[in-house]
Symmetry: C2
Subunit: 347 residues, 2 copies
Amino acid sequence: MIIDCHGHYTTAPAALEAWRRRQIAAIGEPGNAPTRASLAITDDEIRESLENAQLRMQRERGTDLTFFSPRASVMAHHIGDAATSLEWARVCNDLIRRVCTLYPDNFVGVCQLPQSPGVRPENCIPELERCINELGFVGCNLNPDPSGGHWKEPPLTDRWWYPLYEKMVELDVPAMVHVSSSCNPCFHATGAHYINADTTAFMQFLLSDLFKDFPTLRFIIPHGGGAAPYHWGRYRGIAQDLKRPPFAELLLKNVFFDTCVYHRPGIELLLKVVPADNILFASEMVGAVRGIDPETGHHYDDTRRYLEPIDWLSAEDRGKIFEGNARRVFPRFGARTARAVNAAQSA
Amino acid sequence: MIIDCHGHYTTAPAALEAWRRRQIAAIGEPGNAPTRASLAITDDEIRESLENAQLRMQRERGTDLTFFSPRASVMAHHIGDAATSLEWARVCNDLIRRVCTLYPDNFVGVCQLPQSPGVRPENCIPELERCINELGFVGCNLNPDPSGGHWKEPPLTDRWWYPLYEKMVELDVPAMVHVSSSCNPCFHATGAHYINADTTAFMQFLLSDLFKDFPTLRFIIPHGGGAAPYHWGRYRGIAQDLKRPPFAELLLKNVFFDTCVYHRPGIELLLKVVPADNILFASEMVGAVRGIDPETGHHYDDTRRYLEPIDWLSAEDRGKIFEGNARRVFPRFGARTARAVNAAQSA
């Protein structure tokens, strides 16, 4: 079985974006804000949005299941206030739930959090609990920079975030560290801000004793861990100069990387330097890169194609990367089927 | 011959740091600012600061020559104003000149610029001209974020920077894109801010037609290009989705990467994906990582050791990476010896 731990609903029906535009237009005029119930999307529209995109790609690429979350680039936590973010997160998460209900074998939910710049992260706890306990989701996306490229929040290792981490530990759900769009003109969203955030988060974890405080807290750093694996020697060296413990003790029980790296040399590097226990298969599809690589004739984000021919990857490690690690890092998925995960909660 | 295109005077005598502390203490009280002439460092102190550090490492590692610039992490362009930065840059650049005078075979100068947040980059032109025309330097370090981690300057591809680029083209000198310390608690300097800046600069270049406006402008992106080579497929794919030209046409005549990547798998990746014409040997020594890797028994930043045993690297490409590209990208060095470069200007 192949589990893709990182997929976004980037193809949602246009009515979702229209609802968001109405919501943004009404900021400061609460009386004009659209209700959640006013979002009219039919089941057929949802099917249509997926059949020729994520579902077709699952079939064509031979992956079985996607951990599916709202489109990351439009989370845009910097827009409006915490109430804005909460309504938007609920709308987006509810739509993911509908996807999981329609395709219970193909998708399992991961939620967007109602973060807002400068607002304490405990404000996210009710929506996290709703998504996990009522919608059957198995994880969340946590934005280390709700300002959208201005980086005004404390580091992820600051006690600022601890109440949310306590709830994550209690619910036994991991977070993917995932920023949203950039409103800083220096940073292109998917080309710079995403990758920088991944690198930044890794370095924050390296410097901190966060995982002494939360031994079972787990993060997935997406996009192959940003720059971290490429600079693995640099990071090992910086940690050593700073008298930090070896990575195995410092963070490898808690920090995982996905395989959203869109060429074979990058995937090979990731597999060479990061232990197989810390790598989760993913494609980010439909995501940052949609084209076909003329050098291979296949989609850049068809990451299974890079992994499959690597003959020095043992069957055991392959099994961990494609399936086992996802089941372990997302214990609410655990040993179950997607259908069982989705069914247990829709009752 | 092996040219290390990226070395900093991180071991300067303590009097330099003391001078800087006095300068900072006097911000707002110009009458109390130390004069440049008040910095008292003897030739012997300079020799001592180098003999057991950069010079010993050159000998032990078998490199011949370092393109040497002031310590990057203390450029700290965010401190004080443009006048503060100018005095500090002059002091630091003059010290580099003294190093080059004492060791004319071992070092060639690269200058710090007197940038200051929000100040138009043309303010750097006089100091750039002084360093190139009077001190015999061959390049400069350009900080894309003089705010120190808040990223308030326009992207490097904005016309904001054009007057400085016009002067760089006229003088025929490249810039290494190099940030300084971070005063944003989210970003560790050498572990996050440096690498993020490299990634950010690459993405800015990818999006822009800067090199149509300046066909001979050249940048070195240090630290192996940040995350760019690891995510080469992502970047090729994003460029393709955006209908940008192929990299060869878009930026490979103008953008170069150094080899400051501190483990063999990272160096191998760099050599696999980036054309040999675009890679310049460097170690960053004495820089971000000072320790010895227990896995190899050698210094993390002894980057020659990663390159040497790679048997699929042709002699021709090896020659480009170790020497030829540096001579080409820094034409004021060109075909000459370090001694000739240094002597020509000290007359």
